[in-house]
Symmetry: C2
Subunit: 463 residues, 2 copies
Amino acid sequence: MVNNRIELEKALEYLDNNQDESLERLFEILRIPSISTKNNNKKDCLKAADWFVQQLKDIGFKASIRKTSGHPMVVAHFENDGPHFLFYGHYDVQPVDPLDLWDHDPFHPKIEDAPKGKIIKARGASDDKGQVMTFIEACRAHIKTSGTLPCKITILLEGEEEIGSPSMSNFLKANSEELTADYSLVCDTGMWDNKTPCITTMLRGMVGDEVTITAANRDLHSGMYGGVAANPIHLLTKILSDLHDENGRITLDGFYNGVPELSLEQKKQWDNLNFDSKAFLSDVGLSNVIGEPNYTPLEKIWSQPTCEVNGIWGGYIEPGFKTVLPSKASAKVSFRLVGSQVPSKVLKSFRKHVISLLPSDCSVEFNEKAGSGASSLPINSPEIKAAEKALKDEWLVEPRMVGCGGSIPIGDHFKNILGMNSLLVGFGLDDDKIHSPNEKYSLSSYQKGTRSWARILFNLSNI
Amino acid sequence: MVNNRIELEKALEYLDNNQDESLERLFEILRIPSISTKNNNKKDCLKAADWFVQQLKDIGFKASIRKTSGHPMVVAHFENDGPHFLFYGHYDVQPVDPLDLWDHDPFHPKIEDAPKGKIIKARGASDDKGQVMTFIEACRAHIKTSGTLPCKITILLEGEEEIGSPSMSNFLKANSEELTADYSLVCDTGMWDNKTPCITTMLRGMVGDEVTITAANRDLHSGMYGGVAANPIHLLTKILSDLHDENGRITLDGFYNGVPELSLEQKKQWDNLNFDSKAFLSDVGLSNVIGEPNYTPLEKIWSQPTCEVNGIWGGYIEPGFKTVLPSKASAKVSFRLVGSQVPSKVLKSFRKHVISLLPSDCSVEFNEKAGSGASSLPINSPEIKAAEKALKDEWLVEPRMVGCGGSIPIGDHFKNILGMNSLLVGFGLDDDKIHSPNEKYSLSSYQKGTRSWARILFNLSNI
């Protein structure tokens, strides 16, 4: 066990002196195109998992690949006295299309100068390989300088986070004894801004559905059948446009059941963050805040549920014209959930809505994306306080307690299956372009993030 | 000139005795994938044009390729005494996707047995290569048996019919003296049923538009921006679903200007055709007639305008999920026009509708598909009567006078630019699957169609 402040200082010094080697390790894993949603990249996902196993073995973890029905898990243990923490991250990444919008090969990481300092550019640099590496490098520093860690650590890395973690729930149930710790640590969230760290205390849940409507048994000539036979694109656009009312409120039956009223205290705390929604939108070329006028943008992102169409396709979509009445039309729809909204109930209500607008001679197929509920943390626990102190020591500013619009279903799973709370600390920035072309991670996020974890591990072990 | 009935009989006998050679010629042209909307098939379009030039030269026409800014025209002349007819057809075909729904290579034509007799299967077999060949083979028969034709013929074959004939209008204007005849003959329409020919006296017009809505300047993470930033798919589905009211009536401002009230006489004539709309729909797996209840299905197809979305795309459309808020969403929309509806006005009204629903921070791009108005024929003219008699002699039933839901803009162009009326006779059948996988042309359509043109040419020349 490391419980002497001098030992922490040695670990931090080690990190400062070994930055280049650390970056080279990060670049190695960024070069592996572990896109979980693409069948063609199945081997790359395995390769990424293997790479992490080897890294963790190198620094003294007992690590192995663990099969699932999809991409494998990486599980690694560092036995020790003291409290037991389960660290979670994911080694899979989002697809890279549209590839022509990248200004370099997404799997050839590079360092670039940017207005706010150097950045690491690559798919996965921020989400989530760079973030995972901040933790592993912090462990490496403690081990290299003190021969051990300040506590007992289990590491669980998933390869299916970007596709909704279909294997996670069963894996946790089957291995609950091995994986249950005192607290879990998750590094997949962001900073408040590039100088201010934060701890995420609220996360939205998510559930999704792919819907395909079939009308005629083949594509038809729009001159012969138009206006007489059902056009599945018309049906789909009606179904989708009816999902929101004119104020942007979601119309699905029972959808808002379980959406809590925001406390005045919480509203006030968030108002004090002085979130600049104008800058937030103008950064992506927009200026209008959409949706219900009675919530601030931050309240919408952190505390309100959403319904978004993530993809739509049907009929002739290549260059030129083909005056066809298509047989099929499809869309991918996802819902961000808050409070105690139940993913399966939302899905059921969505499907009921679709079916209610379907003519008797048309059919529909659904393909669910596994869902999870929202989660939130008790913000006055000793663990949160210890992490807060560590972050303040590193960044020299008061960390913010924030919500997050994204969904990290793992928090929900850890709570429900393993009975653990999760500390959500990450170093991503809003302009990291995760899920988009030209994803990046700030070099300062990587370097100070690594130092932050070295401090957090030390503080958590000395509560 | 051929003006002796015995000469017609010799031509018909020639056609009966040379069916195999005639089919082999048809197969040759069906093997050329002259898809006009695909850049990759540009050379194939030229190859198809060249093939027709050679065929027409072989039988004594003075034929040549005529350049346009797109795919070339084929123009051929057979100088003669007597009346002058301009025959029009097109050598380009529709795309073949989705290719996996074809049960054979669309450009390897074959003959198959089917419940109602033999069929010729290939892309273009019916629309329009098979139809064009019925006319050329009829000319061949007259020339081979009498050394000449019964009249003066000009043939004009287009390579851009399936993409809206963008070059036609300018070409006709530039060559009006050469191309103006007494009457035009168009073979791109269908029969009433497989035993009953018809003359199409009403055609709908068409105009189309491709619309692309851009919201953010890049794809966004739906967890971070969902519910706050505009989703262009949501905007597009709203814009498209608002195009029809709950009765299926098109809502665009001024859209129904120029749509004539159907006369009671016309309604009665069409009612007497006993159109089986149940069979028409059940053939494609549907059972409900959509749209306004105060029109019969036939009235809808022949005399009412339509608005159809022919294609839609945006966001993540590959297998798996990507919870993205896309930057762009697009759709291809086309309108069938009737009466004196003006294509440019319809387009203007559509664009006004789109723009009216566009938030101030989003932008839109349009890409027009060249349009044409509807057309209709004086049904008591000597030319129509002569063709009617020829068809009755061949098929031994009274031909029907019908409307057509499709758009053959050429009728409109010939009328407006060259001042000619057009005789629309064709031998396609409703189940020919034109524009769809497994397109076919009945062997009887091809063989009796050829004989029909031999008769029509003879009758027209002897009014």
